[in-house]
């Protein structure tokens, strides 16, 4: 029992200690008010709550609190266990007395509340609004910071949570910071969803934390605000479609589309443009696709289509483009001081059109005026007008550019008095003062009263260069402007046009006005015409010529010329010659007079031009040559100091036989040469000029000159003939070329000659390139003949003669001449060979006589040696006997069988096919011990075609003697000589035709022809009698024929078609000594000689 009471005491003591540790002091022993907690939401008031233990019914509670700043404790009664009292500065003492229902105090407890024990929890924020922007998928959240209850300058932290879908999945949580300003501020926050807001429901809640640094108590986050929701379209049973609806995004954006369909339907597929995309399920009625990095769409946008299983489809259109570029080259100017036109280049097209197009606005900062600009999106240059404001010269423009994707701007500060670009001058008219002076009037729409205008007048006329005339004038208000132009030319058609700009601050010229044409009126001709006169050949009349005045001096249309003839101021004759005649004739007889010519037009007469009819006598008139200049004729003359009034060069415009059409040109006294040019001059035509000197008393002929505008080669060559011919020389003579055919000044002749027969196809000598060609250049034009020496006798020569001028050579004239025979030379040519032959004969006779014994022994011994007798060579011809070798006849010849028995131990020389045949090779033992059977050959024999061969025995077989081997030429094609390796030879034997010669086996072996080609050759019905490949093309006795490697020469030689005799000798085996071959060749040579 003690133990229990002790335990209780200990427990009560522990509780007491615990109580004191929570800073509350309990008065009384019964467990009454306890767990006092104080929480503040605004740092001014705090709410204190406590518990009463044990729980039992009680009456009102007396609550008193005292603090240092309170003079007396504040007490009040409360029925609740919750009171709101001020937050103490440092600490507060609270006394809570619990009364019974009857009003008696049950228990009193005192608590000490320190400020650090107070908990600060802000009130949960209240969302003022949550607004969705479906077009941008943006949520806008608005709430009040409730700052009025807090001191100024506190930091507030806001935590916002976004949740999505029916499952309320947390999408994001963001922290928002703000500062409290002791006022209730409405805060706003935007959040853009990555999926359209229509696609799923979105939820938002918010809480806050206020960081009161001077508050020492505990601080905690507020509670979450009530959840705000934006419902998705999938929650509305009647809604369906593809979202977002008709949105605009920038190129490269990632966009999510969702398709909401009615309950019970299914989506077949979803596509963006033409490409299907994988679907993501958002809810039972909502599916989405995500398009990454969207590219620019067409002008009508990119369709997003959702196909349903019932065949219908839903869709939306996405417009993908670019944010506007910063406008480039912004420039403003005024055309009339009424409107300012600003132009710029838009840069990269946005790719958005219609109501999504880029919009432009012009804002003027000084006046605050704003105008929107209507521009054509398709134009490269955009223009916007802004009205000119009264009393404002400087404008500070901001060109704002915006489209659904973005915006940009460009600015420009401009003084419009320095940016004047006047409109095009209109109503250009001309009024005349006189023939050289006019007034030009025009009108410019615009008010230019504040500036001076500079106008430029372009004056164009037919006979002068284009001129620009600048005129400055004060500007006016929509007024006409006038400029005075003088120094114009009478009777001239002018074209005028005008443009204007600001005079003081040039910016730009206006466009040119339209062209106004005006012709000035006529004035009297400026001077008299240029005149000349010629006396007729009879001297009875005088012809007067004048040149038409140039338009610049005629000052109008010349109607007539008045020609008068005065003798000492007394008019002898007066004539009026109407246009277009430019000459007249006056009968003067032998008299002389002064001629006066006056040109007249509508406005008056020109000053008179005078010339005396008298021509001063002159002596020793020389004729010179003028130099052709290609485009004119250079005429020169000496200087004559007494010619005081210049020179006149006169010529006939016409040429040849045409009547002379006089032309002339006057030159001042210091001139001594002139290039006379005329469109009538022709190349190659000779013109005659006369140079007259002018004195006060009249004109005097000084010199005659001939010349060409351009020298050409003579038209024809001079005719020439051969006057005389000897065995070594030819004398030729030629005639002059007519002047009209010279076509230039003749410089000389070229006489060419070379050996040559007359041949129509032969080229000209000069072109033949004949190395023996000799050319004589005759520059002496008086020379008309020439003797050509050192020629060969009895030889044909070709002669050519050409004339030449500075323009070139004429065509040649040709002749063929044969020189006479040189008889002495011929005689010498005959006699010398005869003498040499006779001399050789005598020497040979002497030699033979002195060596007669040796000759006899050698050629005609007592016992003749058959080997040395050529006559015996023909004994081998069995059929013909001693007959000399000649073309064999095809008489029937009965073949004899000749048995040749080989008795010699040395191997016989086997001819051709047998030798070449491998089979034959095997039959010839190398040791030379032939069996009789092998050498016992029976051959068919045909005398005319016997091939005989006298072989010298090899040097290593001295014992061997000459052998005669008879071979029937046909036997060379006998099967027995063919090897099995050459089956194609068999084909030859079966062919209907056999050639008369043996083809070289070796040649066949070495030839590259294919067996097929060979087959074709062999099976052909006809075969030529000669293998041209096998023919030896060298002469039989040439060294080449002996040394050549042609192994089939024997039977390769061509045969006579008639006789079967070989026309060319067979060739010895190469091993055979050469002398033998030469001996045969000589014989054959004489046989074949006639055939050559």
């Amino acid at each position: 029992m003690w133990k229990n009471s002790s335990l209780r005491c200990l427990l009560a003591l522990a509780i007491l200690c615990l109580r004191s540790s929570v800073h509350s002091q309990e008065i009384g022993s019964l467990g009454h008010p306890q767990n006092l907690k104080c929480v503040t939401h605004n740092l001014h008031k705090m709410i204190c709550t406590w518990d009463v233990s044990p729980r039992r019914k009680h009456g009102q509670t007396d609550f008193c609190y005292a603090a240092n700043d309170l003079p007396t404790p504040v007490c009040f009664k409360t029925k609740e266990k919750r009171v709101e009292i001020p937050v103490p500065h440092s600490s507060s003492t609270v006394t809570i007395t619990t009364n019974s229902i009857s009003g008696t105090a049950l228990a009193t407890k005192e608590f000490k509340i320190h400020k650090k024990d107070i908990l600060f929890i802000p009130v949960a924020p209240r969302v003022l609004s949550l607004t969705p922007d479906f077009s941008t998928s943006t949520l806008n959240l608005k709430w009040s910071d409730n700052g009025s209850v807090f001191p100024d300058g506190l930091d507030a932290v806001w935590q916002i949570q976004i949740l999505r879908k029916e499952t309320v999945e947390k999408v994001t949580q963001v922290t928002y910071h703000s500062k409290l300003t002791h006022e209730d501020i409405i805060l706003s926050w935007n959040w853009t969803s990555d999926i359209p807001l229509e696609c799923a429901s979105h939820y938002v809640k918010i809480r806050c934390y206020i960081n009161v640094t001077q508050f020492v108590g505990l601080k905690e986050w507020s509670d979450w605000s009530p959840v705000e929701v934006i419902l998705g379209k999938d929650t509305d049973p009647s809604e369906s479609g593809v979202f977002p609806l008709d949105t605009v995004v920038a190129v490269g954006s990632d966009v999510t589309f969702c398709c909401i369909h009615e309950e019970g339907q299914n989506i077949t597929n979803m596509s963006y443009g033409s490409k299907p995309y994988p679907m993501i399920q958002l809810s039972s009625r909502s599916h989405a696709i995500r398009v990454l990095n969207a590219s620019a769409s067409d002008s009508s946008g990119t369709n997003v289509v959702c196909r349903l299983n019932n065949g219908m489809m839903e869709g939306t259109v996405l417009f993908v483009g670019y944010a506007p570029d910063i406008p480039q080259n912004l420039s403003c100017e005024t055309p009339n001081f009424q409107i300012i036109k600003c132009s710029w280049k838009p840069g990269r097209p946005s790719g958005l059109y219609g109501k999504r197009r880029t919009m432009y606005s012009l804002f003027e900062r000084m006046s605050g005026k704003n105008v929107s600009c209507e521009v054509n999106e398709m134009n490269r240059q955009h223009v916007c007008g802004f009205p000119v404001l009264p009393d404002q010269k400087t404008y500070d423009f901001i060109l704002g550019v915006s489209n659904p994707i973005g915006q940009a701007e460009s600015s420009l500060l401009v003084d419009i008095t320095q940016r004047v670009h006047p409109k095009t001058p209109e109503k250009l008219t001309v009024s005349e003062n006189n023939s050289t002076s006019i007034h030009l009037h025009w009108f410019i729409n615009g008010s230019f009263a504040e500036i001076r205008l500079l106008c430029q007048i372009e004056i164009t006329s037919g006979h002068s260069e284009q001129k620009l005339h600048n005129v400055s004038m004060p500007g006016g208000k929509s007024s006409a402007y006038t400029a005075h132009l003088n120094a114009l030319h009478p009777y001239t058609k002018y074209q005028f046009r005008v443009r204007c700009s600001a005079a003081d601050h040039f910016w730009r010229w206006s466009d040119w006005s339209r062209v106004e044409e005006y012709t000035t009126s006529e004035a009297p001709p400026a001077r008299g015409p240029d005149i000349w006169r010629e006396r007729s050949s009879s001297g009875e009349s005088l012809k007067i010529f004048w040149k038409p005045l140039p338009l610049s001096e005629a000052n109008g249309r010349i109607t007539s010329h008045e020609v008068s003839c005065y003798l000492l101021e007394t008019p002898l004759e007066h004539k009026v010659v109407t246009e277009p005649t430019n000459s007249t004739e006056i009968k003067l007889g032998k008299n002389d007079c002064v001629i006066s010519v006056v040109a007249k037009n509508q406005a008056g007469s020109s000053p008179p031009s005078r010339i005396t009819s008298m021509e001063l006598p002159s002596d020793n008139i020389i004729t010179g040559q003028a130099m052709a200049m290609g485009n004119g004729i250079n005429v020169s003359w000496d200087s004559y100091p007494n010619m005081t009034c210049g020179y006149v060069v006169k010529w006939c415009r016409s040429s040849g036989s045409e009547p002379c059409s006089v032309d002339w040109q006057k030159f001042p006294s210091n001139t001594t040469n002139a290039v006379i040019k005329s469109a009538l001059f022709k190349p190659g035509v000779r013109y005659n000029f006369s140079v007259y000197g002018c004195k006060s008393t009249g004109y005097q002929l000084l010199k005659n000159i001939t010349g060409y505008m351009k020298e050409l080669p003579p038209k024809s060559a001079p005719n020439f003939t051969v006057e005389e011919t000897s065995s070594d020389s030819i004398l030729v003579r030629w005639e002059d070329i007519p002047i009209e055919e010279c076509r230039g000044f003749l410089k000389g002749y070229l006489l060419s000659f070379a050996k040559g027969e007359k041949d129509a196809l032969k080229p000209r000598l000069s072109e033949s390139g004949n190395p023996e060609l000799k050319v004589n250049n005759i520059t002496n034009l008086t020379q008309k003949s020439m003797k050509i020496l050192d020629l060969q006798g009895k030889t044909s020569y070709q002669l050519e003669l050409q004339a030449y001028t500075a323009g070139g050579l004429s065509p040649p004239n040709s002749l063929y001449v044969v020189t006479k025979e040189d008889s002495v030379g011929l005689i010498i040519a005959i006699l010398i060979p005869v003498a040499v032959v006779v001399l050789l004969g005598v020497v040979a006779s002497i030699f033979c006589y002195r060596k007669r014994e040796w000759i006899k022994e050698t050629f005609y011994p007592e016992i003749p040696n058959p080997e040395n007798s050529k006559a015996l060579q023909f004994q081998r011809n069995i059929c013909e006997g001693n007959k000399t070798l000649k073309t064999l006849e095809m008489n029937p010849c009965t073949p004899n069988s000749v048995e040749v028995v080989e008795t010699q131990s040395a191997a016989p020389k086997i001819e051709d096919t047998e030798m070449m045949s491998p089979a034959a090779d095997t039959t010839v033992p190398e040791d030379g011990s032939d069996s009789e059977m092998e050498n016992h050959v029976v051959v068919s024999y045909c005398p005319p075609i016997i091939e005989e061969e006298i072989s010298n025995p090899p040097t290593d077989e001295p014992g061997g003697s000459s052998q005669v081997v008879y071979i029937d030429i046909q036997s060379m094609y006998q099967p027995q000589i063919k090897s099995e390796e050459e089956p194609e030879i068999d084909v030859v034997t079966t062919a209907g035709y056999k050639p008369q010669m043996q083809l070289s086996v070796n040649a066949m072996n070495t030839e590259s022809r294919s067996p097929v080609e060979e087959e074709l050759d062999k099976t052909a019905g006809y075969r030529p009698q000669a293998n041209t490949n096998a023919w030896n093309m060298d002469t039989p006795d040439s060294p080449g024929s002996v040394e050549s490697n042609n192994e089939n020469a024997s039977f390769g030689s061509p045969c006579s078609i008639n006789s079967r005799q070989f026309l060319l000798p067979p060739r010895d085996d190469e091993d055979s000594p050469k002398p033998i071959n030469i001996g045969w060749s000589f014989t054959h040579f004489f046989q074949n000689k006639p055939n050559d």
Binding site: D246, S299, S300, N303, G315, V317, Y353, G354, K355
Partner: protein, 194 residues
């Protein structure tokens, strides 16, 4: 209807019908071209199925052969008056959506609108010849504008398709009407049924 026609009225009706047939043929050709251009320009699937256009009587009709000439003309007139409003709306939408971007399509649309108006006037002339006179063009006002650009595109496609069909039907209606005498309202051969 036309049974008591004077020879000149019959001649006039035949002439109007012949010209109307030519106009319908030209209209059909232009609408088909425009349809191709429209489908391409709007990025649509040419085979896409489109709901019937509100306000336009369907070209396909049952018992077509039993219709009288006046009925035919009245139906045609109602259809073309509806088309006139729809095409004008399409033209306005086109301007709003594309601005100056695709002027060629706008020009083609305007040309077809002009033809539709001319054809409606032509039908009114024919109705006047029928001694009936055309009904007043009060209508129900312009059809409701589609909500989204995609709906505009689809409705445009539907309008042009229906117009192309109506052009065919109109030609056949007028051919039927041009037949002399009471036969104008008689049944055509099966091959001629629209």
């Amino acid at each position: 209807m036309a049974g008591a026609d004077s020879p000149s009225a019959a001649l006039r009706r035949r002439d109007l019908c012949a010209r109307g047939i030519r106009l319908a043929g030209k209209m059909r050709s232009d609408v088909v071209d425009l349809l191709d251009a429209y489908v391409e320009q709007q990025g649509l699937d040419a085979s896409a199925s489109v709901a019937a256009v509100e306000g336009v009587p369907p070209a396909a009709v049952e018992r077509w052969d039993e219709q009288t000439g006046t009925q035919r003309l009245l139906e045609n007139l109602a259809a073309y008056r509806a088309f006139r409003g729809l095409l004008a709306q399409m033209l306005e939408e086109q301007r709003e959506q594309l601005g100056e971007a695709d002027a060629a399509l706008g020009r083609a649309l305007a040309a077809v609108l002009l033809q539709v108006s001319a054809f409606a006037y032509h039908l009114e002339e024919l109705l006047r010849l029928e001694s009936r006179g055309p009904p007043s063009d009060e209508g129900d006002g312009p059809p409701p504008q589609p909500q989204s650009v995609f709906e505009q595109k689809l409705r445009g496609l539907g309008v042009l398709r229906e117009l192309a069909q109506w052009a065919v039907r109109s030609a056949r209606d007028l051919r039927q009407l041009a037949k002399p005498g009471p036969g104008a309202g008689s049944a055509p051969s099966p091959a001629e049924s629209p």
